[in-house]
Structures are given as structure tokens and as C-alpha cells.
């Protein structure tokens, strides 16, 4: 498919958006004087900004492209990623987990795990998160490049270079505050752009009734309008959606993901942090529709071109095709702006959080225990630049290996999300979970996830194990092993666990 020739109006809209992002980011970078300003925005974020930022940190280019492709393939079951996989865990995080991070006065999730268990657990999860974030950066670059190649005819490396340059300027200087407020702008543009795709698409299909009729006329779309597919569905059986996505992957992502938790820790108070989560959950009631509909619209209108998904089918072509064929001048500029918003917000979230993890959990405790605050700020800024460049380089092997960007992202998640959630849950809910229990449980859970993910290649299991079941069983394994090993090893004394376990509240005032 040849690339589009954008009308000057579209080019002006896209350029205005990019300039506005950079100027806003630069304006907000004034007054960054300490690592707390850089990593936690000086604890000054309003709840609505943090809430909108949480939404776009999660929904980026990879989701717009990936979910549209998966909605084409599987149907409205993909909405569960935002319903049971997001709204439920976000509310859990707001009312149960967030107060522990807040009262512990930590900057990162591994820092909490280090205080609750030991330094090994902290370092393990910090290293894994950084690796995961670098890989995620790669998937973001891949999805961005796929879109720009179709729409604008840009080469892979040119797309990567533009993203690195724009995000690098304001994220390096402005830290979390610049990230969050530029994400507010991104959230508005993203919502507008996604809504415009849906409205134009539905007009072309003849409304919801026409969309449904077109899709149901195909012979392979029997479950496309099942929000909960049957229990024998090959990829998304509903029990696995509930247990794997709702009870493990969703909570682990929304409770244990540094990019998410960092925004709530940057708010002014615990109440503001809670309100930011609830704001995010409210927006997520609508967003799944905006992400899934383009895939269904593509299925109704372009199934002759895109065909039936098979082994080598490329889901990343679905959204670009809809955008290229349906949107008129002006609207196209806004939608490309929305796509850029997704790319930039995802990139800035992950580089900022990875830099925070590296400085807080690796540089300060292991490399330079006596580093001054100014030095940590300087290292944090350098790391943002290094991570952007590293993620860009890593994106090429990711592009050549994985067919679907979103599938790659989910595969990375399943390896350690289950064990992380098990350790957080037991760490917060029982004083009996011991450092040894945490370490052995963590390793057992990760090993289980790796084995189940490799079931087809290593053990010849036909079709492999659905990744949602991998997540569930790695969580259960970690939970059981932590409990078993903790039963025969020595826990930390109660005084050390105050403020970290729900039955042992702080005796003094909470940290500022």
C-alpha cells in the first residue's frame, strides 16, 4: 500500500501538536532542582492530571494498533483488557494497595519490595522492570514505525529518530511533571482522534446494525460479539480471562507497574492519589469502545483486503488501513496527532520510570551510596537519553521476530507479573512472608511462566498454553512457594514491618 500525501492542513495540525508538546514540556521543566522534583514531580500533581496521565500511559500506540488488529481477529473480547483487566485492579489499587506505597514513603515498587523482603528481591524486580521497559520501548517504536510507514512513507529508522528526538527534549529536562502534563494534552488529542475514527467508520459501515451484519456474514466470526467467549475458546476462554487477566495480569500491571504507581506517588496527598485512580477507571469505561471499534470497522469494510487471520497474518496493518481510507482532510491530521500522542506518552512514561528505577534501585544503593541529590538528578537525565536510544536500537530485533506487537507485549508481561503480584499481596497482607520465601517464590513463579510459555516448543503441547493461563499458574506457584518456604524460615521482626504490612500500622506520623 502506498503512503498518503497529507494535505497542508493535516501537516499544520500535526506540526502544531508536536510544537505544543515540546513547548509545554520545556515550560514545565522550570524549577526542577532535586531528584524528588524530577522523579515525583515534587509531589505536586493534581488528581485529574495524574488520572488522565494514567490512561495514556496504558493506552499508547501499541494498544491502538495492537488492539485494532486483535479486535479484527477476536472481536469485542478485547474490551476485557480495559474492563476486568483495568477497572477492577485500578479500584483495588486505589482502596487497598496505594496507601501502603504512600505510607512507606517509597519512590519505586522494587524499593517497597526491598524494605518488605530484602535487597535481592528488590534488585531482581528492578532489573526485570528495566529490561521489560526497554523491550516495551522497542514495541512502541515498532508500532509507531508501522503506522508512519503506511501513512507517511517514513522509513523505520527515521520514525524512531523523530520519536527519540521529540520525547528526549522535554522528558530529559522536565521529568515526571513534564511527562504528566504533556500526557494530559495527549489524552485529549487521543480521545478526539479515536472518537473521530469510530464516527467516520460507523458512517461508512451504515451504523452499528450495518457493522454487525457485515461481520456476522463471515463464516469465521462466530464469537466476535461475545464479550465473554466460551470456556473452550482457543485464546480467550472466559475463565482464563477472569483468573489470568482479571486476577493476575491486570492487578500486577496496575499495582506493581512503576510507570503507573509513580504517577499516584507524585500527587499531593493520599486522597488525591485515590481520586486519580478513580478518574482513570471512569475514563476507562469509554476507552475500550474507542480502541476495539476500529478493528471491527476494518473487518466490516476491508476483510477482502486483510483476509482471515492465519499464522503469518499481520495485525499491525488493520488500523493504518482504516485511517488511510476513511478520514478526510483535517480529521486525518488530528488522528495522526492522536497516534503521535499515543507514541510519545508511552515513550515518555517508560523512559521516565525506567530512569527512576535505575537511579533509585541500582545506582544509589549499589554503585554510589553517597551520591548527592544533584548527582542523582544528573544521572537520571542522562539515563532518559540512553534508554531512548537503547529502546530504539532494540526495536529492530523485536520487529523482525514478532508478528503482532501487542502479543509481544503480553508475552513479556506474563513472565514475571504473576510472581510480582504474589509477593506484593503476601507482603502487604501477612507479616509471616519471609525474605527467603519471597526469593524462592519469585524464582519458582518466573520459572513456571517460562516453562508454560515454552510448552509448545519444548514439550510439544499442541497450540501451547494460552498466556492468560500461564499468568494464572505462575501466580499460584509463587503464592504457594512463598507460603511454604516462609513456614520454615525466619520472618522480619514486627518493628521493621511497621507501615509495610496492613496489620502493623505506623506508630508515628506518616512521611510527608
Amino acid at each position: 500500500m502506498s503512503s498518503l500525501r497529507l494535505h497542508p492542513v493535516d501537516i499544520a495540525i500535526v506540526a502544531s501538536y508536536l510544537v505544543a508538546m515540546v513547548l509545554l514540556g520545556l515550560y514545565l521543566s522550570r524549577g526542577i532542582r532535586s531528584s524528588r522534583d524530577f522523579f515525583l514531580a515534587g509531589k505536586s500533581l493534581p488528581w485529574w492530571a495524574a488520572g488522565m496521565s494514567l490512561v495514556v500511559s496504558d493506552i499508547g500506540a501499541k494498544d491502538m494498533v495492537g488492539i485494532a488488529g486483535d479486535a479484527y481477529r477476536h472481536g469485542i473480547v478485547m474490551m476485557n483488557y480495559d474492563f476486568i483487566g483495568c477497572i477492577f485492579p485500578v479500584l483495588l489499587a486505589a482502596f487497598l494497595f496505594m496507601p501502603f506505597f504512600w505510607l512507606a514513603g517509597v519512590t519505586t515498587v522494587p524499593e517497597y519490595l526491598g524494605r518488605r523482603y530484602n535487597q535481592s528481591v528488590r534488585t531482581f524486580f528492578a532489573a526485570i522492570w528495566v529490561a521489560f521497559m526497554a523491550a516495551t520501548l522497542g514495541t512502541i517504536f515498532v508500532s509507531a514505525a508501522a503506522m508512519f510507514e503506511v501513512l507517511l512513507g517514513w522509513s523505520f529508522w527515521f520514525s524512531v529518530g523523530i520519536c527519540v528526538l521529540v520525547v528526549g527534549v522535554y522528558t530529559t529536562l522536565g521529568g515526571l511533571k513534564a511527562v504528566v502534563f504533556t500526557e494530559v494534552l495527549s489524552c485529549i488529542v487521543l480521545t478526539l482522534g479515536a472518537a473521530l475514527i469510530c464516527i467516520m467508520g460507523l458512517r461508512a459501515t451504515g451504523g452499528v446494525a450495518g457493522l454487525r451484519a457485515s461481520i456476522e456474514s463471515l463464516d469465521w466470526t462466530r464469537h466476535h460479539f461475545d464479550l465473554l467467549p466460551p470456556a473452550d475458546h482457543a485464546v480467550y476462554p472466559w475463565p482464563a480471562v477472569l483468573l489470568g487477566l482479571g486476577f493476575v495480569l491486570g492487578p500486577a500491571y496496575w499495582i506493581g507497574n512503576q510507570a503507573i504507581v509513580q504517577r499516584s506517588l507524585g500527587t499531593r496527598s493520599q486522597s488525591a492519589a485515590r481520586a486519580s485512580y478513580v478518574c482513570c477507571a471512569a475514563i476507562k469505561l469509554v476507552f475500550p469502545l474507542l480502541l476495539v471499534l476500529p478493528g471491527l470497522i476494518a473487518l466490516a469494510l476491508f476483510h477482502d483486503q486483510l483476509g482471515q487471520p492465519g499464522e503469518h497474518w499481520d495485525g499491525n496493518r488493520v488500523l493504518p488501513l482504516v485511517v488511510a481510507h476513511l478520514l478526510p482532510t483535517g480529521v486525518l491530521g488530528i488522528v495522526i496527532g492522536a497516534f503521535l500522542a499515543g507514541v510519545l506518552s508511552n515513550l515518555e512514561s517508560y523512559v521516565n520510570s525506567a530512569s527512576t528505577l535505575l537511579v533509585t534501585d541500582v545506582y544509589r544503593p549499589f554503585l554510589r551510596p553517597h551520591a548527592t541529590d544533584r548527582e542523582c538528578l544528573r544521572v537520571g537525565r542522562w539515563l532518559v537519553g540512553a534508554l531512548l536510544v537503547g529502546g530504539g536500537v532494540l526495536s529492530y530485533p523485536i520487529k523482525t521476530r514478532f508478528g503482532s506487537v501487542f502479543e509481544a507485549f503480553q508475552t513479556f508481561l506474563t513472565f514475571f507479573q504473576g510472581p510480582l503480584l504474589a509477593l506484593l499481596l503476601l507482603g502487604m497482607l501477612t507479616r509471616r512472608a519471609t525474605p527467603w520465601g519471597g526469593m524462592v517464590g519469585m524464582l519458582a513463579g518466573v520459572a513456571t511462566a517460562v516453562l508454560l510459555n515454552a510448552a509448545e516448543a519444548w514439550f510439544g503441547v499442541p497450540g501451547g498454553v494460552p498466556f492468560l493461563w500461564s499468568a494464572w499458574w505462575s501466580f499460584v506457584t509463587a503464592l504457594v512457594v512463598v507460603l511454604l518456604v516462609s513456614a520454615v524460615t525466619r520472618p522480619h521482626p514486627d518493628e521493621r514491618l511497621r507501615g509495610l504490612v496492613c496489620w502493623l500500622p505506623l506508630t508515628g506520623p506518616p512521611p510527608p
Binding site: I76, F83, I84, I87, F88, L91, L92, A94, F95, P99, W102, L103, L227, L228, P230, A231, D232, P237, W238, P239, L242, G246, S269, Q270, S271, R274, A275, V278, A281, A282, L285, A455, F459, V461, V465, W469, P510
Partner: protein
Amino acid sequence: MSPPWPTLPAQGLLASLGPAAFAGVFLLTALAILLLPRRLLDHDRGATPPWWRNVRFWAVAICVVQVLVYLVFG
């Protein structure tokens, strides 16, 4: 490896259980949020806000919408 869920007759029951299970999760979440003691929730110790600024109210409203979504479309 056999799938970790029952097959044949039990699947009819399983299919009808799906929406109830998902709606039940959100119903329980709403109840838990409503019944959570205030001392566990409000470490800031501020005055009780009006309903339209009460985070608990909005969280429960979101849960109710989700219950309806799963019962209608599940």
C-alpha cells in the same frame, strides 16, 4: 496437556456462569468499597466531602456500570 476446564455438558453451565462471575466480582468490589472502615481509608483525616466529591461514591458508580455491562453483553 488437557485444558484446565471441564468439557461437554459442563460447558453449558460454564457459559452461563461467565457473566454472573464477572458481574459478581464488580458487585463484591462495590460492597468492599462501601463497607471499608473510614480509618483504613482516610489517612489524611479531612472532613467528610459531599457525595459529588466523594471518591467512594464514584468508585461504586463505576462498579455498577461494569455489573450492567457484563450482565447485558456478557
